[in-house]
Amino acid sequence: MNAVTDQRDFAGEGMYREHILDHYKHPRNFGEWKTCSVSHKELNPVCGDQLSFQLNMDEKGVVKDVRFSGQGCAISIASASLLSDEIKGKTIDQINALSRDTVQELLGVTLGPSRLKCAMLSLDTVKNACQIYQKYHAGGKKHGGH
């Protein structure tokens, strides 16, 4: 995977490599459940993108399965699709540890500041969904002091 190399060479050739287009045209885990552990929707008013994530958690606070829906540009949809695969089997703490670098590594490109916002919408939505889940299941495993 591409590391973040030259700050100034944003989104080099191949930003729309097969990989991203494939996830855009055939998003994984796309759809909506009738019920789930937690669901959350976010909107980026600047570009009109909107994403909704549903998570199903097991009793240990691990993501068992996930669905997402929404509309947006290729970068935001592909990020959501890639992220939906990535978070399966992860704990909330592990999800909170995911960074903007994770998302760029999943996409395989380095993004400039404005496209990064498109890419981060999915991660923000997932993290906020987790926070909501924790708030309502405070009895379970507490959010650790790290």
Partner: protein, 414 residues
């Protein structure tokens, strides 16, 4: 300075006047089609500023030493230059601001200070946030009514006829864009001015997109206030203008305060300086003002009539080229004749952001988004669009690169 270079016939010579345009973008020549956001700068403007800093720089208006005298003369001359350029009577009608947004914040505060609860302000559904949000917020704070000339989907312009029905004795000011930064239409200002003045209201015009695209004469057009930015007319950032009719400016109280705009200050009372300085508090944008003056000289060397017809040819070429690809929606008037330099469009199945990123890979810079006109996007029922916008240095080959890039995007996303 008076050498005339025809913009249309000398496209590529014009390009050479702009240092940045020789930059290569990943091996491609730079095709800069984001002029609606900001234009690039010719060498003449850059060197006017750089050499002023290196030769005559000082603060203006109060210094007695030579540098300060030179700076004062140069800064005041820039005001006169701008006055002459837009047909104002004198520098007393020209306030240097930091841009269109600054002009509107200042103007809206000064005017609404004189309004009473229930008075009406009319803008349109197609305004840039800069000519909307200041009025909107002050209307809310002061109990004023804000009304909107609606977008007309049949013509791609505004429902001009509706203004006649809306306007009333309660209307104090009508503030409208001259050229829409999304739809590209040109407002019929002369007609509007008559209507507005018949109702004893004032006409404020947003010339951000028009001032470098078509000739403007505030007196002939019957405009009471005119706002524009230096950076969209080949001048520097942080420069702008608020033109105001002298009798209006004379009677308005300032909205911003500080040094230089005062005549006498005691701990509890202040009186104001002469026009236009009473509206320029603090150290003004000295070097930016001088750069703006140089930009005016640059624009004068073409004339604007030529730029206007040059950009219309480019517009026709672009509208033809894009339409021929199919699956393209173009916003605004369908005839290139009714447009000035701004072309917003969408490509079916390709999000504007992705289009912009793909074009960027080939060195083509366009804008994608809501263009600071969210209410218009709502009216158009789209979250975003692509926008190509032209300048004096835009060539047909730039448009060909754009069209080719859009074609490629269609293939990738098909």
């Amino acid at each position: 300075m008076k050498t005339r270079a025809s913009a249309s016939s000398n496209g590529s010579r014009t390009r050479n006047l702009f240092p940045i345009l020789s930059r290569k973008m990943r091996g491609h020549p730079l095709v800069y089609l984001d002029n609606g956001a900001t234009t690039q700068k010719p060498s003449s403007v850059l060197s006017a500023m750089d050499s002023f800093y290196k030769k005559s720089y000082a603060n203006v208006h109060r210094g007695i030493h030579t540098l300060s005298e030179e700076a004062t003369v140069a800064y005041e001359h820039a005001h006169e230059n701008v006055a002459d350029f837009i047909g104002a009577s004198s520098l007393r009608e020209i306030v240097f601001t930091r841009g269109t947004t600054d002009s509107f914040n200042m103007l809206s505060r000064m005017l609404t200070q004189t309004f009473s609860r229930g008075d009406e302000i009319i803008v349109s559904q197609a305004e840039h946030h800069s000519n909307l949000v200041p009025w909107q917020q002050l209307a809310q704070q002061k109990g004023l009514k804000l009304s909107f000339i609606p977008y007309d989907s049949r013509t791609g312009e505004l429902h001009w006829e509706k203004l006649e029905k809306m306007i009333s004795k309660k209307t104090k000011v009508v503030s409208l864009t001259h050229v829409s930064n999304v739809l590209g239409f040109i407002s019929p200002l002369k007609k509007i001015s008559k209507l507005v003045h018949d109702h004893n209201a004032l006409l404020s015009v947003d010339a951000a997109q028009s001032v470098a695209r078509l000739p403007i004469n505030v007196k002939k057009m019957g405009v009471d206030f005119l706002s524009f930015s230096g950076h969209k007319m080949y001048g520097p950032t942080a420069s702008g203008v608020l033109y105001g009719r002298e009798d209006l400016f004379s009677s308005l109280e300032p909205a911003y305060y500080g040094g230089d705009m005062v005549r006498e200050v005691t701990l509890n009372k202040s009186t104001w300086n002469d026009l236009p300085w009473k509206f320029e508090p603090g150290t003004p944008p000295i070097v930016e003002g001088i750069g703006l003056g140089a930009a005016v000289d640059f624009l004068r060397a073409y004339p604007l009539e030529d730029i206007f017809s040059h950009e219309k040819k480019i517009m026709a070429h672009a509208m033809n080229g894009l339409s021929s690809l199919g699956n393209i929606t173009i916003y605004g008037p369908s005839s290139p004749e009714q447009r000035a330099g701004v072309l917003a469009f969408n490509v079916k199945h390709v999000h504007a952001h992705d289009l912009s990123s793909l074009l960027n890979e080939d060195g083509v810079a366009i804008r994608a988004g809501h263009h600071c006109a969210m209410p218009l996007m709502t009216a158009l029922n789209i979250p975003a669009s692509a926008r190509a916008s032209f300048a004096v240095y835009t060539e047909k080959s730039d448009i060909d690169a754009l069209v080719e890039g859009v074609r490629k995007a269609q293939t990738i996303f098909k």
